[in-house]
């Protein structure tokens, strides 16, 4: 056991049991998995990814490249660092060989996000960050202070003294002052992992994993989205090792980390410790470890190295002779001395943790005196303070935290990236098993850039993202190339600072909340009626209403028959609706639609087509003229938002002089087409005061009325070729009016139908669906709707494009009907069409077009399809071939209107006309 009394902030009064690699151990609240393992004498945690070498704990916190574990209980999670896993009772984990394993069962934990705003965000609650937060709070700022460890204090481990007091007291007092301020939010266990533009910082709060009994409804992790006026990066510095031969064994770690383990967890990492350093800070570690009961030998190659250095030498190798777990048992010095030991601590200086500065393009600059890259030019909206800024003395950190410029302190870190030895056993990136030999190979192969070396050797691409290895790799590359390290720089720092679970980023956008479900006012009715729904954009639309025993085909045939022979009703409320108002409303619509809208009379309806500037159809629908200065534009369901945007864009950016305003009224109006020869009876009963004769209420006209005091709009519009009315009512009364229509229609067998039937009915009439029968490459002429393209108007959006050479090509694809020669065969939608053949030539086979819509028609008593076919209008009457599942299906090209081409049904049965 390597736990020492009198040290650490763990709760020794309570014992926790956990399992690692199948063995049971005990630890205490306040432990991490790493400290508990070390306390139990477990030093080998896993094996390396490529070479299968034993690996232990190398650092005390998130910079550790090696202590990777898989947590199995309470829930499987791959690739966590033992140093950052809070110990809880019943924890089960195992060491990894470099790769994790995902759970096979769904993660039921809750994740969420939270937005917050502040004047000052401080990242890191070490001395610099604490003072920065205090200074900002005293100034009256709203402050958010995040720190990734469970408690504030950073590297103040209780041994430091600040103004004559213990650093712990200083931390406690400062935190207490901050906590008392209602404008300060302190977030422990919260890692700032990404810094984006305009003071936007993402931070992950780990809320429950450390709790014995996590509350059920509290999110496990939370992503804080912090928008700060000013971002203070006070993230400290990472100690960096010195690369020596066989430096990857368990028992070899960073000097400050050993100190951290002692002071936070009461763990003494060895009894016989060698410290190899080129920096003064490690002497503090050595002293503390010695005080805690270890025998410490310091090896320091610096000329005139101070203090208790017992060896002016370099460590050049380690051995593990006789060690069962592969942990270090001795080190060899360049003077031949062999020092037996059970731990080797390394310290080659410090790298400012400037990741969050770099994320927002902050440039680093090499400081030869520190032997480190530190923030160069200051950034707008942010500062870097303390060790993160390359200020390594406590007084300087405190001063920078207060916003002052500290007294410069002379410092000479002796830069030593590695010592002599076998390059193939000198590990640079311990997680990737990448060595000095790998760097040497990269350089020998011609690589000159650290970015190339990174990709060749994979150094810095592992879980730890090279927190301790990246700068060393630059240094060694520079040495091998014989260039100064500053000319190479570092590789790019990218978010996240430490890995973040996908689910944490998904937050609550899962399951039902993954994407909004838009529903109409009748949704509950549809559900009750047993509708099968279809996703149309974000809308849930009723596709068909199967009766017991019916499949879709049977239901649709029945629904279609009802609409063609009796009466059907559809919830068409998802259609987009735009109120267009103002003296220039007609002018705007004339410029937007291909046909003329300004000539439409109030009380009348017109079908219109819209194109983009490229002349391709983007939407279609009906337009009602309400009065001289007002129109109601219907768009397709998917077109509602984009078409309103399209209109606003033209209006605001191109024609601001037009006096028009646009308002979405999509949800204001519920719209129900009542369709079929019996529709007149239903509408007549619904609005008995309205004369529904053809003479009084002609096709393509509309009127407003009231039913039982409820304003209702009736319009004679038909998307089926049948006699039909669209009943529109405000959304509040939608369900009541729908029910009323069903009641009144019952004697006529009124049948609710869904989008599938709507599609069949319209296809029988050759009416295209934008987005199904078009794909952004289809013009109004291609659709056969040139009648809706005005010849009179001088211009409208898209008009000029019709004259481009490709638009005049007679072989453009045009919308036609297709009748399979076998009337029972339904062509799959999407099928390709080729010339009539009974054997396909070898590929590439020239294609003529494709099937856009295909149905079984009750009215036609057969199958049929719509298709876009090259030069299709000229091919009517020809036979072509459609390859289907290996068979070659002959089809006949027809006009696109297959049902009632004369349009005799639109006014209903002759008897009642």
């Amino acid at each position: 056991m390597s736990r020492v009394d009198g040290y650490g902030r763990i709760d020794r009064s309570r014992t926790l049991t956990f399992t690692f690699d199948g063995e049971q151990y005990a630890g205490h609240p306040g432990d991490t998995l790493a400290s508990a393992l070390l306390a139990n004498g477990v030093r080998r945690v896993g094996t390396s990814v490529k070479l299968d070498r034993p690996r232990g704990i190398t650092a005390a916190w998130s910079e550790d490249p090696t202590g990777l574990v898989q947590v199995e209980e309470p829930f499987p999670e791959p690739m966590l660092l033992a140093t950052t896993v809070d110990l809880v009772d019943g924890l089960v984990a195992r060491g990894l060989g470099g790769r994790g394993r995902l759970a096979e069962v769904p993660d039921t934990a809750r994740y969420d996000r939270r937005y917050t705003h502040c004047e000052t965000l401080v990242i890191g609650a070490g001395p610099a960050g604490l003072l920065a937060a205090r200074t900002a709070a005293r100034r009256g700022d709203r402050v958010v202070l995040v720190d990734d460890r469970p408690a504030a204090g950073g590297s103040l481990l209780g041994t430091e003294r600040i103004c004559g007091r213990s650093a712990f007291d200083f931390v406690a007092d400062t935190v207490a002052e901050l906590r008392a301020d209602p404008d300060v939010r302190i977030l422990p266990r919260t890692t700032a992992f990404g810094h984006y533009d305009d003071g936007f910082v993402l931070a992950l709060e780990r809320r429950t994993d450390h709790l014995a009994q996590p509350p059920r409804d509290v999110s496990r992790q939370r992503v804080w989205r912090i928008r700060a006026g000013h971002v203070v990066v006070a993230t400290g510095a990472h100690e960096r090792p010195i690369v020596v031969e066989d430096n990857d064994r368990p028992g070899i770690m960073l000097a400050a980390s050993a100190r951290d383990l002692l002071h936070r967890y009461g763990v003494l990492v060895g009894r016989e410790i060698v410290v190899f350093t080129t920096d003064d800070a490690a002497y503090d570690a050595a002293a503390d470890l010695e005080r805690a009961g270890a025998r410490v030998t310091v090896v320091d190659p610096r000329p005139g190295a101070g203090g208790s250095a017992t060896h002016h030498a370099r460590v050049v190798g380690t051995s593990a002779t006789g060690s069962e777990d592969g942990a270090v048992t001795a080190v060899t010095l360049d003077d031949g001395t062999v020092l037996p030991c059970d731990a080797l601590l390394l310290s080659g200086g410090w790298n400012p943790t400037a990741h969050l500065f770099s994320h927002v393009r902050g440039a680093l600059r090499y400081d030869a005196e520190l032997g480190a890259f530190r923030p160069g030019e200051p950034l707008d909206g942010g500062t870097v303070v303390g060790a993160a800024n390359g200020t390594f003395d406590l007084a300087g950190c405190l001063a920078e935290g207060r916003g002052e410029t500290p007294e410069p302190v002379a410092r000479r870190t002796h830069v030593l990236w590695r010592t002599e030895g076998e390059p193939a056993r000198q590990f640079v990136d311990l997680q990737r098993d990448s060595t000095v030999a790998d760097i040497a190979r990269a350089v020998a192969s011609g690589m000159r850039s650290v970015e190339h070396v990174k990709r060749y050797t994979t150094i810095g691409t592992a879980h730890d993202q090279g927190k301790t290895s990246g700068v060393i790799a630059s240094g060694i590359t520079a040495e091998l190339l014989g260039v100064p390290v500053e000319s190479l720089g570092t590789t790019t720092f990218r978010p996240p600072y430490t890995p973040v679970a996908f689910a944490a980023l998904a937050g609550r956008q899962r399951g039902r909340l993954y994407d909004p479900e838009r529903t109409t006012a009748l949704h509950a009715w549809h559900v009750e009626a047993g509708a099968v729904f279809e996703d149309v954009g974000q809308w849930k639309r009723a596709r068909y209403y199967p009766r017991p025993g019916e499949d879709m085909e049977a239901a649709v045939l029945r629904e279609c028959a009802a609409a063609r022979t009796g009466v059907g009703i559809l919830d068409g409320s998802t259609l987009g609706k735009i109120d267009v108002q103002g003296p220039d409303a007609g002018v705007l619509l004339d410029r937007i639609y291909t046909n003329m809208m300004s000539s439409l009379k109030p009380g009348r309806v017109r079908y219109g087509v819209m194109c983009g500037v490229d002349g391709m159809v983007i939407d279609d629908g009906t337009v009602l003229r309400i009065d001289d200065e007002r129109f109601l534009v219907y768009t397709t369901t998917g077109g509602a938002a984009p078409i309103l945007d399209h209109l606003e864009e033209w209006l605001q950016t191109e024609w601001p002089e037009l006096r028009v305003s646009l308002t979405s009224v999509t949800e204001q109006w519920a719209t129900f087409p009542v369709v079929g020869p019996r529709s007149r009876d239903v509408i007549g009963a619904f609005a008995p005061h309205v004369d529904v004769s053809n003479a009084a209420f002609p096709f393509m006209s509309w009127l407003d009325t009231e039913v039982d005091g409820v304003p209702v709009r009736l319009a004679r519009i038909s998307f089926s070729g049948e006699l039909a009315w669209e009943v529109s009512v405000d959304g509040w009364h939608a369900a009541a009016v729908w029910r009323r229509l069903l009641d009144l229609g019952a004697p006529h067998g009124i049948t609710p139908y869904g989008t599938e039937t709507m599609h069949v009915l319209r296809a029988e009439k050759g009416y295209p669906i934008i987005g199904q029968d078009t794909d952004g490459t289809v013009t109004p002429q291609d659709l056969g709707t040139e009648w809706a393209v005005s010849k009179k108007k001088p211009d409208f959006v898209g008009r000029r494009s019709f004259a481009r050479p490709a638009n005049l090509d007679p072989l453009r694809k045009q919308l036609v009907g297709l009748l399979p020669v076998d009337p029972d065969l339904k062509l799959p939608e999407g099928s390709q069409i080729v010339e009539l053949t009974d054997a396909l030539p070898p590929p590439p086979v020239p294609m003529l077009g494709h099937v856009t819509s295909s149905y079984r028609s009750a009215a036609l008593g057969r199958t049929f399809a719509l298709a876009l076919v090259k030069g299709g209008h000229a091919r009517i009457g020809e036979r072509l071939t459609v390859p289907v599942d290996g068979a070659l299906v002959p089809v006949e090209v027809t006009g696109s209107v297959l049902f009632d081409p004369e349009g005799t049904r639109r006014d209903g049965e002759p008897s009642v006309r």
Partner: protein
């Protein structure tokens, strides 16, 4: 112990100083520029060539793409060039003598709506007639190929099926670039890094059709040249501006990300347009993912975080087991997007300047194919038949190759 990455050849490329003059200068040392150099040498014996790269070789989109390779594009024109490319991929490891880890693990393009299904079938049928392997699969078959996809009917956007191209795959992007670079270097072609083209020296006038480029100005001095091939991807507009040639290109950030190394869970490539994400598991074991472009123009090689978040939501929705995989690193590239989501390749108003750009979010897969065709175009002074439909003048005639709607995510 995880699968090992292959050993690299001992030598990759020299670091030469630029000569005074070359027969051909290729601007841009990404995959396209390097492949063009290789095929100029290999297929046409043209070796007095320089590839001029402003940064480190293949450090642009080539270093940051998600490496999806497929040829199941809708339109004949696209199918032809991408299929040509895929065929070259199938022999590339041998050609380059470099283990590029080309892994034909298949791609599933998921369909989530009725319209997705129609579009998918349309593409599959077109692919078959173009001689490209393609299948339409139902949800059960999707689950057989990739068991971790959530094909249950009660998710927000259920999977209705997918197209499947078995020959699609991934390759190790860096090694591909280095393989081409090594071959080009071996052939005597100079790969000049840290050398930015800042202008052109020209002769004649575009008005009478006599305009030509006589050399490139660079941060390492002027270099005379007989012909120029522009392969600058996201920076194409910057170069074209120097020549005064307008082109319909917009540069956008496009982001991607990886997880930590995981044991194999994802045996194929899955792409979804409606639930916007696509995923593969790279050779080492990291999940590699991407989504759509950031909306605004940007040359910053970084994008906005909400795109990553949305992508993660989509990933967890489609692959519930990903919940506790971890985002390890995210990054961005600069993609040059055209109005019809197809590339622009061919002549420019300068008689001896050839343009290759506009590959947007999907040009990695074209690397060998375009290298082959562009080399042929430059060598023979006329567009190779596979690139002819992608000429700049299609925007004038209106004969676009619109891969927007049809080809699902364009990666």
């Amino acid at each position: 112990m995880a699968e090992q990455l292959p050993e690299h050849p001992d030598f990759l490329w020299r670091t030469p100083e630029p000569k005074k003059s070359y027969d051909v200068v290729i601007v841009g040392g990404g995959g396209h520029g390097l492949a063009t150099a290789h095929y100029l040498a290999k297929n046409h014996g043209i070796t007095n060539v320089a590839v001029v790269e402003k940064g480190w070789l293949a450090g642009g989109n080539m270093a940051r793409n998600t490496t999806l390779i497929r040829s199941n594009y809708l339109w004949d024109e696209s199918a032809a060039i991408y299929e040509h490319s895929l065929t070259l991929w199938e022999g590339l490891e041998e050609d380059l003598g470099y283990p590029i880890l080309f892994s034909q693990r298949g791609v599933l393009n998921l369909a989530h709506t009725e319209q997705d299904v129609r579009d998918s079938v349309r593409r599959v049928e077109a692919n078959k007639l173009n001689g490209i392997d393609a299948e339409w699969l139902g949800p059960d078959e999707v689950a057989k190929i990739c068991p971790i996809v959530n094909v249950s009917a009660d998710i927000r956007y259920p999977v209705h099926g997918a197209t499947y191209q078995a020959r699609a795959g991934i390759a190790k992007h860096d090694y591909v670039a280095w393989g081409f670079a090594r071959r080009a270097d071996e052939a005597g072609i100079d790969l000049i890094q840290d050398c930015e083209v800042t202008g052109f020296t020209t002769d004649g006038s575009p008005d009478d059709g006599t305009a030509r480029v006589t050399g490139v100005r660079t941060t390492k001095g002027d270099i005379a040249c007989g012909r120029v091939a522009l392969c600058a991807a996201g920076h194409s507009s910057v170069l074209l501006d120097m020549l005064g040639v307008p082109a319909p290109l917009q540069s956008h950030p496009l982001q991607a990300l990886v997880s930590e190394l995981l044991e194999p869970v994802h045996p194929t490539i899955v792409m979804s347009n409606a639930v916007h994400v696509y995923v593969s598991q790279a050779h080492k074991g990291e999940l590699v993912m991407g989504a759509g472009v950031d909306s605004y123009n940007g040359y910053g090689q970084r994008g906005a975080f909400h795109i990553i978040e949305r992508q993660m939501a989509a990933a967890v929705e489609l692959f519930p087991v990903f919940a506790r995989a971890h985002l390890l690193r995210s990054w961005g590239g600069i993609v040059d997007v055209t109005p019809d989501a197809s590339p622009i390749v061919g002549h420019t108003p300068y008689e001896n300047v050839y343009l290759n750009c506009g590959w947007g979010t999907g040009g990695f897969k074209a690397t060998p194919g375009i290298g082959w065709c562009l080399a042929d175009t430059v060598a023979n002074g006329r567009p190779h038949p596979y690139v002819a439909p992608f000429a700049l003048d299609r925007f004038v005639t209106g004969a676009l190759v619109d891969e927007h709607g049809a080809a699902a995510v364009a990666h």
